[in-house]
Symmetry: D2
Subunit: 306 residues, 4 copies
């Protein structure tokens, strides 16, 4: 039945310390467009290559980090179906009315074992800029900044990665594309709800509800190099890259937004299908798993989160 149920990451809501600096970062550097600002000051952003109203939300706060990540489902009835399954699984579900975010319909939300809030929604208005659909050109306006094509996925840190794995695969029909296993059990998981190698990922960490990075997809390795040129030109804070991940094979750069939230821009990675075997890395290869070229973790990877 082709892709049904959970389609993809719909949007993520991040906390930022300085809204003007954040908007400058995500529009002029990352290459998103500001769609609108809500009455409560939240700012809604998207790539010009996305149809939905927005895919990235910024909220001013005194501490950086992630408020929630919302996935889009295909049909409104999927929301009721998933609510039943999530409640049955053991998580209380609450309801967010349509319009709490401009252009987005009703949402259901709950907290997973790692302490993160996850939401589902099925309706989003379309907003400009968006791809043309009548005799469409490759783009309506030449991409700018790092030329981000979409908010693609997030990597979260928190406890109970094994419980997240169980929940996402049993209650939401995600698949385990890739994992790091240590003698203590599952250390990190990359979960797919479609044909991307990951839509959400988790790494084991003592503190709950932490953000490792929010990632934007670029077209190719050339755009990764261009993004690196932008990072240096504007003296932005680089974490690591350009490099490749062993996990997912994506080519990548990690860096930080002005509030200290880690961003990733990446390209490539294999096409995942639900009949593909899970790829597994052991503890001895974790450096190569994360940073394929350097083959060692940098200090920041395991410790710097928001």
């Amino acid at each position: 039945m082709a892709q049904t149920g959970v389609l993809r990451p719909g949007f993520i809501q991040l906390r930022v310390l300085d809204m003007a600096a954040a908007v400058e970062h995500y529009t002029n550097r990352i290459g998103l467009h500001q769609v609108t600002e809500g009455p409560d000051g939240r700012v809604y952003l998207k790539s010009a290559d996305e149809f939905d109203h927005h895919s990235f939300v910024l909220r001013r706060a005194s501490e950086a980090g992630v408020d929630l990540m919302a996935f889009k489902v295909l049909n409104d009835s999927d929301l009721d179906m998933f609510e039943r399954r999530i409640v049955e699984y053991g998580f209380p579900v609450d309801h967010v009315p349509a319009g709490e975010q401009p252009g987005v319909g009703r949402r259901i939300g709950w907290t997973i074992a790692s302490g993160h809030r996850i939401e589902l929604f099925s309706h989003a208005d379309q907003s400009d800029p968006k791809p043309a659909i009548e005799n469409p050109g490759v783009w309506l306006e030449c991409p700018h900044g790092m030329r981000a094509r979409r908010f693609d996925h997030a990597l979260f840190y928190g406890p109970h990665v094994d419980k997240n794995l169980d929940f996402f695969t049993k209650a939401l029909d995600f698949r385990l594309a890739e994992q790091v296993e240590t003698p203590d059990g599952v250390f990190a998981i990359w979960l797919s709800c479609g044909m991307k190698a990951h839509d959400i990922a988790f790494v084991k960490y003592p503190e709950p509800n932490k953000l490792h990075h929010a990632a934007f997809e670029l077209e190719n390795w050339n755009d990764i190099g261009h993004a690196a040129d932008i990072l240096t030109h504007y003296d932005m804070s680089l974490d690591l890259g350009p490099t490749r991940h062993g996990i997912t094979r994506g080519q990548t750069i990690y860096f930080f937004d002005p509030s200290g939230n880690r961003n990733e821009v990446f390209c490539g990675g294999y096409t995942y299908y639900p009949d593909h075997p899970t790829r597994t890395w052991d503890e001895a290869h974790i450096g190569k798993a994360i940073f394929y070229y350097e083959r060692v973790l940098n200090e920041a990877f395991l410790s710097v989160v928001t």
Copy 2:
């Protein structure tokens, strides 16, 4: 439920006039590997980046063209489910026993309105070379030739494109990603069973059961250029390119195998989701739809098929 039902093009079986020349073409030029040769002389090929036993089958015959295209479904029970739906839709279904092709389980098959034979199967053995899954590197052996990463899709010519659209969307849950509409109705359709902009496509043509091209995916535009260098180095028959398609946005080259079957190597194209609107081209823009840079069709596009 993430991706279910029909997953992807599993394999295509083409007729070739000279098997040795065909094998040389698809292995050393396109970059596939020969998995095995069957007792009836059919040759089974795959990319090293595919898990399944094979994705491309060559059969010696006195006339070039396509025998059949088979899609892989997720579960064995899907075969029964789809058989019921196809029969109910009005097409008689026949059964191909496991092992008719080495490494492939039971298949069901039928003929669609355009005269092409379509099959479904759910089981394939894995075969070497295939991607590693324990601490996997980017590749086990450096890609060769044009560095094809998978058999990706086919474009067929035949009558009753409108009927094919109805059938694939109603009986097999495909989605219409893109189409060309003329005053006479639907002229061409690009159908997706997952997140690719197309898994199979049809163009209206008076003769049934014709092959326009079988396509292989490459990593990027650089590999498209490299493929063009190979085409000239070996004096292979170019049709058109390097160029871009307006439809799907893919960057591409068309050329011919030694038997006259058209091949495509392409990269890129947008990610399709089932909630995306169908993109539509009208008659006035058909040149740009097909060859985005040239903005006119070449003579061969509408007339040369096998």
Copy 3:
């Protein structure tokens, strides 16, 4: 003595029919910057990656084409030295005073056998934008449009290509990097004054003083693809490409400015040294020499000039 004498193409002066359209084309599409407009209405342009005052001059006229191409020499004394050699060779030389073009010192000029006016100059003021030289970044402002990095070379059509070859090598110390030979003699020549595969080129043609194209260098094949996207987006007139030249190996697109002057954007090509042998193409391979992928000339190549 490293590189001495004639260094490189300094600038070309083209005639355009509509100055506003031409400026829009060369700045917003090609990616140049307007430096200044002279009192006689000529417009002076450059790439932000060039130090010299300008490298491209537009003059309004009733007919498109080329007025002159000027090469920069290393020292002022080279002008006197070359004047003696050119006069001795047999061409009368005239003098253009400093300031005839803003920012450019005195020039000497003469007409070659093919009817084209060639000039030499040794001084140019620097102008903004130009590359930084103290702790310089990769660029001061992100390249725009087709991201042209320099005016690179021109291809002229006219009679007496053999005489041009004799003159440029004997009087100006150019080298013959590549040529097309036919039973009638030298048909086309690619001449280098440095380490580029060509700084100026000539193709045999009955009419004198014709421009085939003025070429801009891009960084890589990815930028060639981007340039093609721009061509279609703005519905500009494509001649051919993206493709590769056999001659020089450059990857390329030919298209036309609003006045009908042909432009090229290209990248790559081999590094030429004066001890390298001349590469030679014969008549049977002229298609491949010019359009390496198509392996045939298009009609426009031999007939459309300004």
Copy 4:
């Protein structure tokens, strides 16, 4: 007079501890071809894109490092001219007879202030593989390994960088393309004898005659990524990259051969002309000068040499 005198780096001779491992590294990994092995066991290598007999020489020794670097001059008479100038400058010159290396004519040699042996020669036989010159294709055989196109330059460490600057510019007509200046004077210099941003470079270091790296040119950033994939696949010793140099703008990877000699593969960088101003970096920007993306030196850069 176009390029005269010193044309380019002709070859470098490195000491290696294990010849078989070295040959495997430079042929199958870097992508060179072995031309021949001399009677004394030295192995001569080249890229298939070079005309000259060889450009890279390996000598078995108990300690890694560099024996000499030889530049090719245009004419045999240049050897006498440069010998006079070098002797006059104050360095004793010795003579190496033709044939001391297979395929190479007579050489002159001397030791510069930093303790390195430099040589000049004007004749080299051509050897296979080399570029075709009659109706030449882009390549005769598809490039392999990291696809090195030429031995491009070397960076040496040693004392008296200021004296090297004086010597190379006064006696050999090199130009100073780029430098790092500290309060103690010139710290590092990048010297050009043609249109490349550097043909040889020096960094101040207490010990004489040290090799920092020998560099091979690749076509583009895509090949840099491919080279990084090869480094990890074969578990080779990475130093740093993929990254960009601020100096020269080249995109790059540093790594080590099996004997511990540092290699670089790089692409791009600006075109240098002798009328270009010298680019200068100060001490505060040295991190960005060397590693443009990381903006800090790694420990190895200043300490690991052979």
